[in-house]
Symmetry: C2
Subunit: 475 residues, 2 copies
Amino acid sequence: MPAAPGFFLFLPSHSNPTPARMTSYLESNQERFLSELLDWLRIPSVSADPKFHGDVLKAADYLKARLEEVGVENVELCQTAGNPIVYGDKLIDPSLPTVLVYGHYDVQPADPYELWTSPPFEPVVKDGKIYARGACDDKGQVYMHVKAFEVLMQDGGMPCNVKFMFEGEEEVGSSNLGIFVKANKEKLKADVILISDTGILANDVPSIEVGLRGLSYHEVEVTGPNRDLHSGLYGGAVANPINVLCQMIASLHDENNHITIPAFYDNVAELSAEDRAEMAKAPHSDDEFKQSIGLTDIYGEKGYSSMERTSIRPTLDVNGIWGGYTGEGAKTVIASKAYAKISMRLVPHQTADEITALFRQHFISIAPSGVTVKVTPHHGGEPVVTPTDSVAYKAAADAMETTFGTRPIPTRGGGSIPIVAMFKSELGLDTVLLGFGLDSDAIHSPNEHFGVFNFMKGIETIPHFYRNYAAAMKA
Amino acid sequence: MPAAPGFFLFLPSHSNPTPARMTSYLESNQERFLSELLDWLRIPSVSADPKFHGDVLKAADYLKARLEEVGVENVELCQTAGNPIVYGDKLIDPSLPTVLVYGHYDVQPADPYELWTSPPFEPVVKDGKIYARGACDDKGQVYMHVKAFEVLMQDGGMPCNVKFMFEGEEEVGSSNLGIFVKANKEKLKADVILISDTGILANDVPSIEVGLRGLSYHEVEVTGPNRDLHSGLYGGAVANPINVLCQMIASLHDENNHITIPAFYDNVAELSAEDRAEMAKAPHSDDEFKQSIGLTDIYGEKGYSSMERTSIRPTLDVNGIWGGYTGEGAKTVIASKAYAKISMRLVPHQTADEITALFRQHFISIAPSGVTVKVTPHHGGEPVVTPTDSVAYKAAADAMETTFGTRPIPTRGGGSIPIVAMFKSELGLDTVLLGFGLDSDAIHSPNEHFGVFNFMKGIETIPHFYRNYAAAMKA
C-alpha cells in the first residue's frame, strides 16, 4: 500500500494550524487507517439487493467494533424494521454543545461488474486512490469520522459532546431512519448535524455544499398485448409497449429541454441575478467538464449554465429501461410489457410528494389508447438549502481553511441527501455538509474510488471543526 | 396423451377424398407421430444462443434418423460455416416433377422462461395442443412432412420426386443457406418449393399465404458519457443516452403512425382499390382481434385496416431495449450507454438492402450532439408475393379443399420467410406456402403451441398436394 503523496500539500499558513503532534500521529497511523477502511470495504453491504443482507449486518458489526475500539461509548446496533442503525456517543459535559454525526454504511449495487478494472469488493489502493464500491460513498467518509475521533482522543480528548448515528438504508431511501429519529428525539438531542457524504470542487479548491436537490423516483410499466407477439404477424396493428414507452419518455422534455409535466416548475425558487453571478464565480470549465466524462457536447435546459443545471434546476432522467428481447442475436418479438426507472431531481421549494403526484398523474394521462400504464413511486427526498451564516458553517469553513490553506466556497450540489430535510423537520437541526469527495470519484458507477489525500484530509479537518465549534458556542 | 378431438371435423364431400386406408393409417398412428415429435421438441435447438449449439446438432441428428427411418434416401448432414443442413431425397423417376421441401429445425430463444406455464423444452399435450418452443415454428410443421412421406410410402409410394432441405439457422437469418444453395444448384434442381412455416386463418377457414413481408433488423447503441454517472451530480448537464434513445425512437413515427425515415415509402407497392376490397372480404373482426391478445384498442397507420397494417404495409417495431439499472430498487445512475433492437417489416417492392441503408443513415443523422450512435444491421429478408395461378398453388388449394372441405383463401401475411425471395433468385423457383399454424399459436412467445388437429391435418393434406401436383404436371 503506497503512502499518499501530497498528503500535506497545503500547509496551513495562518492561525490555529494543525498541531505538530496531531500531524505526526496522522502520518504515522495513515497505513493502519487505510488498512482498517479496506477491511470494511471488503464487506459488500449492498442494501438494494436482498442477497447481500448478511453482509449489510456484518458491515454494521464491523463499524460497531471500530467505534468501541476508539473509545466511543454506549455503542449499540439499534434494530429497525430494516437494517440496524449503529449508534454511539461520547458525552463529556452537558454544558458543552453536542454534534450529531450522520453517515451510512450501506453501498450502491456494484453492477455492471464487468466494467470494474478491479473487483468492487476487493479494494486496492492505486495512484493514491482507494478503489472499491463505497470507498467514497459513504464508508470512506464515515470512517474519517471514526478516525478523527481517535485522533482527538489521542490529542487531549473531545472538545464537545458527540453522537454518532450511521444507518444502513441510505441507498434504498432511508425508510426506517425517520421512524427511528421520531422515536428517539431525546437520545438524539444535539445542536447541529454533521455529515460527510458530499464533495469538494477540487483538492485545491475546497468547498462546502449548502444546497442539495431532492428526489422523486418512479418505476413505470407499460402493458400492450397480454403476451409477447410475433412482430411479423402482429407488427403494425398493435401498440408496441416499447415504442409507446419511448414516445411517452420523449414527450417529458420539450425542444429546450424543459420538463413538460404541467405545474412542474410552479414552486421552483428562481435565483436572483446576483445569486447567479455569485455562483458563476466558482471555477468551472465546460471543456474540462466534457473531457472529464468523454462528452462530445454539453447539454441541458436552455438558459442555464452547466453548474446551474446540476444544482439550482430540477431534472428528469431515465435511470434504467428494459423490455423485449435483449439477448444475443435477433428475435422478432413485440413485447407485452416495457419498463423504465425514471427519477427527478428537485430544488427548493418543490416537494417530493408534490412532484411524485404530478409525475404520476401526467405519465398516466399521456398513455395512448391501446396500452395500460402503472406508475410505482420509489423513495423520495426533499431539496434543502443549509445556512451559511451559522456558527457551525463558520466552524466548518474555518476548519477547511486551516487544513487546505484556502477558504472553502459555498456550493449548491446536485445530489440528494433526503435526510437533511427530515433532520430539520423532526429534530429542528441544521446540517453542515462537510464532505471530502470529488465529482470524479465515480460514486454509483463502476470503479468508484476515494483519494487517500481526501480521506486523510477529512481526518485532519474534522477535529478542527469540533474545536472551532466548541469554542464559538462557548464564546 | 389424449387423442385429438375433431381431427376429422371436415369430411371431404367431393372428388378425391382421402382414401379410407390412409385415414385409417393416420388414425392408428397419431399417437406415435406425436410421441416422435415430442421427443424432437425436447431438444432445445435455439440457434441464437451459443450455449445451445450442441443441442442444435442433436436436433439435426434426430431429424436425419427419422428421415432415414421412413425411407428417404441419400440423407446427409451438409456442413456449412454454421449449423448443418439436413438433406435427403426420394427420386423415383426423372420424368416426373420434383418438389423441394424446405423447413428449419432451429427454434427461437424461449425466454422469458418464467412466463411459460410448462417448461418450453418439456413438451406437453393439453386441450388438444402441443405446448413447446418450436411446436409450430417450425419443428411441428417440418415433422408433418416427414410423416406425410411415411403415409405416402405406406399407401402406394411417392407420386413424384421429392427433395428435403431443412436448415438450422432460420431464426438467426439463414446466413449460410444462400451459400449452400448457390453451391448446390444441380443437387437442388426441382420444379417448385414447398414450405410449411406459415398459418391458416382458422381451423375452419383454411388459407394459403401468397405474400410475405421482408425484414430489416438492427441493433443500435447510443453512448453518452464515457462511464455511468451519478444522476444527482450530473443530471441536467449531460445528454442521458436512454432519454436520447427514447427521443430518437419516438421520432421514427409521426402522429399518424407513418414512419418518418426519408424515402422509406418510395418503393412501397400501393394496392388498387379492387385488391383492397378483395382483401377486406377475408373474415376479420377488430373486436375479436383485440380480445384475442387483450388489447384495449386497435392501433396503427392511419388510413389502413388491421389486416392491411399486418400485411401490405411496412412497419417499424422496437423488439428489445435496455440500458442503465434494471435490478430491484432504485439506483440513481445516468448510464453511459443505451441499446435497442429495431426491426422493420417490408413489403413489395422495398428491398432489405435499401431499407437497411436508409434506416442506418437516418438513425445516425438524428442523433443529437453530445452522444454517439452505432447501428449494427442483423439479418434482412426480401418481401415476396407468390403466384396464385400456378399449377403448384392450385395443387395446394385443391389439397386443402379436399381435407378441410372448403376452398382456402389466398392471404398476404405479415411475417417474413426471407429465403422465399432467395429461392426465386438463385433457383428460379416459386414457392407454395402450405402452412397449418394459427396466429394464436404464440410462436416467438412464451407458451408456443401447435394444435394436434393442425399437425394431423398437415400430414393428411401434404400427400394430396404431391398427388395433385404430379397429376397436373403430367397432364
